[in-house]
Symmetry: C2
Subunit: 483 residues, 2 copies
């Protein structure tokens, strides 16, 4: 996909993007036929040759496919179901997370490679700047500074900047739940929100249930807090296994759990609403809190923004955590949570201890951006771009990697979870990738029991380039060599 700021000379890229947006608005699903070249040319008032070029680009980047004598179709993410990742089967025993020198070394090298100049950053789950609304957010900052700069320098006060909380609450409808602005606590990204929830809900030594695999930052955080983890079997399509979770809750074996029902990182799973409802009911019945991480929730590949687990939470045992880092402004470090009345006062106290307040100016700028209505317009655009990039990357991986490689089929977000042939050690692939100036994340980091030793996670949120094509080809070659 092209840059979000397309120069005039690249009209075909604009057309390609519009075609995808049209498809999403028309509620087309993968496998559905899209309008013909002639129809698009007439509707968008551009030449047939430009549309041909746009379609060629969409085909090349994996968004559509031509079927002879029939036309162009939205491409299903993967056709071959046997090459998809299977449901995980982690051990049911709780694991005390201990510092481990080899993990620490791998984690350090992953962290240090992020943002290193000259590297192809497949290891960072962050949007490339081409996919960030830079002009819109810059305008928002300028407006804030011009209008009310004294406030922007001082500490914000708890529970967070009022206009931002109002703007977040206004999005409750899309999330399927009514949100009271005064029930929102703003945070330094979603990680602080999850951290605060853990500080309030656990003491060192407690057991926390997590998805397996789960975001490596959460694994590291549990370790830093001296907690134990139980890994839940997790389906790459439907998320955490409810039966296992119910057993743990019934026997009171866990202090709380952390779930990402919408587009788990790294698998991109999407939990069906009936599962969300059951989990919320279980949490209420057994009085065991659920920390819901919804940072990828706004980045669905399908038509409908998924509801949050919180929307089924009748008894206030779900702590909803999210942020603006994944969709618009990673560097602003603005997240938020709805801890619910049961936990809000304790969350606010720990928030004050951890960081005093959330940075004021970034909160004001995002509030301004949201109130202008630009956020939803931006999301509509960036979602189709990301879906297309994920599809392209899946196709490129399939073309270069060993034959029995399996892939996730993310239903939102922008990362791919890749199972290599078992013989390949992902930490070794990571090491060799680094010396080829490519960053990836090896799978061991996504599990406290060091599962997933032959898995890697790649971020697809990068614009199309020859450098990127070469990087995927290089990874494929390295993987073949490690067989």
């Amino acid at each position: 996909m092209s840059s979000a700021q397309t120069p005039q000379s690249h009209l075909y890229l604009e057309v390609a993007e519009k075609v995808l947006r049209l498809a999403v608005r028309s509620r087309l699903m993968p496998g559905d036929r899209i309008p013909s070249i002639r129809e698009i040319s007439a509707e968008m008032k551009v030449s047939v040759s430009t549309v041909v070029r746009a379609f060629a680009h969409l085909e090349q980047t994996g968004a559509i496919e031509a079927r002879p004598q029939s036309g162009y179709y939205l491409k299903p993410a993967h056709q071959e179901s046997q090459s998809q990742i299977r449901c995980t089967q982690p051990s049911p025993a709780p694991i005390l997370l201990k510092p481990n020198a080899s993990d620490a070394e791998v984690y350090a090298s992953v962290v240090q490679a992020i943002g290193r100049p000259g590297f192809v950053p497949l290891g960072a789950a962050v949007l490339h700047q081409d996919y960030l609304p830079i002009k819109g957010l810059s305008r928002a900052v300028m407006k804030v500074i011009r209008q009310q700069h004294p406030k922007a320098m001082g500490y914000d006060s708890l529970p967070g900047y009022p206009a931002l909380r109002t703007a977040i609450a206004a999005r409750g409808g899309q999330l399927g739940t009514a949100i009271d602005p005064d029930g929102i606590v703003t945070t330094v990204g979603a990680m602080e929100a999850i951290h605060l929830a853990l500080l309030v809900l656990t003491r060192p030594g407690d057991v926390v249930a997590i998805e397996s695999p789960t975001y490596h930052g959460i694994v590291h955080l549990l370790r830093d807090l001296g907690l134990r983890a139980i890994e839940l079997p997790t389906d790459p399509k439907t998320g955490a296994d409810i039966g296992t979770l119910e057993g743990l809750m019934k026997k009171k074996r866990i202090a709380c759990c952390i779930l990402t029902p919408n587009f788990n990182n790294p698998m991109g799973s999407l939990m069906p609403d009936e599962n969300k409802e059951k989990i919320a009911a279980l949490a209420g019945r057994h009085e065991i809190p659920v920390i819901e991480d919804d940072i990828y929730g706004d980045l669905q590949h399908g038509i409908r923004r998924p509801t949050v687990l919180k929307s089924f939470d009748r008894k206030n045992w779900v702590l909803l955590c999210s942020s603006f880092s994944k969709a618009i402004a990673p560097g602003y470090r603005v997240g938020w949570m709805v801890p619910g009345p049961r936990f809000q006062s304790q969350v606010e106290q720990s928030k004050f201890t951890l960081s005093i307040a959330t940075p004021t100016l970034p909160q004001m700028a995002i509030a301004e951006y949201l109130h202008s209505g630009a956020y939803d317009r931006w999301l509509r655009k960036v979602r189709v771009q990301l879906m297309s990039r994920v599809n392209w990357m899946a196709q490129a991986v399939r073309a270069s990697f060993p034959a029995d490689t399996r892939l996730s089929v993310p239903q939102g977000g922008f990362v791919l979870w890749i199972e290599l042939p078992p013989k390949i050690r992902a930490t070794e692939l990571h090491r060799q990738a680094l010396s080829n100036r490519i960053s990836i994340v090896p799978g061991t980091l996504f599990s406290p029991s060091r599962r997933y030793a032959h898995f890697i996670r790649l971020s697809a949120a990068l614009p199309h380039s020859h450098e990127l094509e070469r990087a995927i080809a290089t990874l494929g070659r390295l993987a073949h060599e490690l067989l």
Copy 2:
């Protein structure tokens, strides 16, 4: 003291401020004679009547005093040594910090009162906006946005924004230590820096030595991390007791210690250089790390910026933590640390886990502000203002509070630590103050063993106003009523 942005009509306020700055530049000490009204009038080229008004203002706000037949003198902070706070004598036993409902309630009410509209915020250790360089920082933000906005939206990468690290390193000379820009990790305020240090240096159950009293956020943080604390006897003038610390280090009874050698919050103590040198040597000999909190270091009341303990650290056992929150930009949440080569990699990993990165735009704005040279100019101005406000408040407290009230004599920063007659419960005074729309912090929060039940901390960083005068008088009246 007046607003930092003095309108032309308030020339006498400008003159008053210049007189104080002149006194500081001329290295006058409290008790020294300042130039006469006539001399000032000639030197500053303003009318005698304006200088008379300026001197009256300085007298009223507690900065100078007239001595009959002799002239005007810089006012010593307190003349009566018997009314000063004494060295503390906490218990030598380690305390496991446990959640406590009554503490939590007090802490919640303190946190919630911060920034509440209509309250006199004596409880918040933060500069009033009149003392923040709002125009300068706003210009810096605008410049950053205009010049390089794409970077400002993305994640910053570890160890932090390069131009900011360069600017911080350039201040090493003033701190008495050479700082390598690559040895700096930027953080979300100094609290994140201290938090990171604790995550790297301790495991739950470990014992940490702290000053007594110590900043309530640190007490709360130790509790959140499941740590135990040992309180060090702390002198209001010279800081933590070295003998006690040496005993603990020798016997390996502590995992690390947290010290604020320069202007401990709440007492404003300043540790002599020879003590700093001894502590650094002890840390090296016993291989026990020292977390140095230097957030108030730039706000000395005297001539010289004090050196940091880190400057005596030959063996890299001191982790220096600081921020820009106390002197220029609380709401930017930009802090920094120099963890030293021994701990830097682990600190960076935990930093990535806690908050991914420090907010980019605020870092860029502060870097721009520092590189322009405006920071040191601003400090020269704000230091004399704060010293004058602290002196005024000490005087006002002395005038209104019960006779046997004792006060700290801070040598930097802007908070006052006040010992009330033992009969007065500070939590009750706090409760009654809140219903009079005044926030204060009761002393119990500054100790894990709930010492200091008859102490309170007040922030003096507020411009002079009748409302403020009334608030101090009200506190005094409430204290009398509780006797």
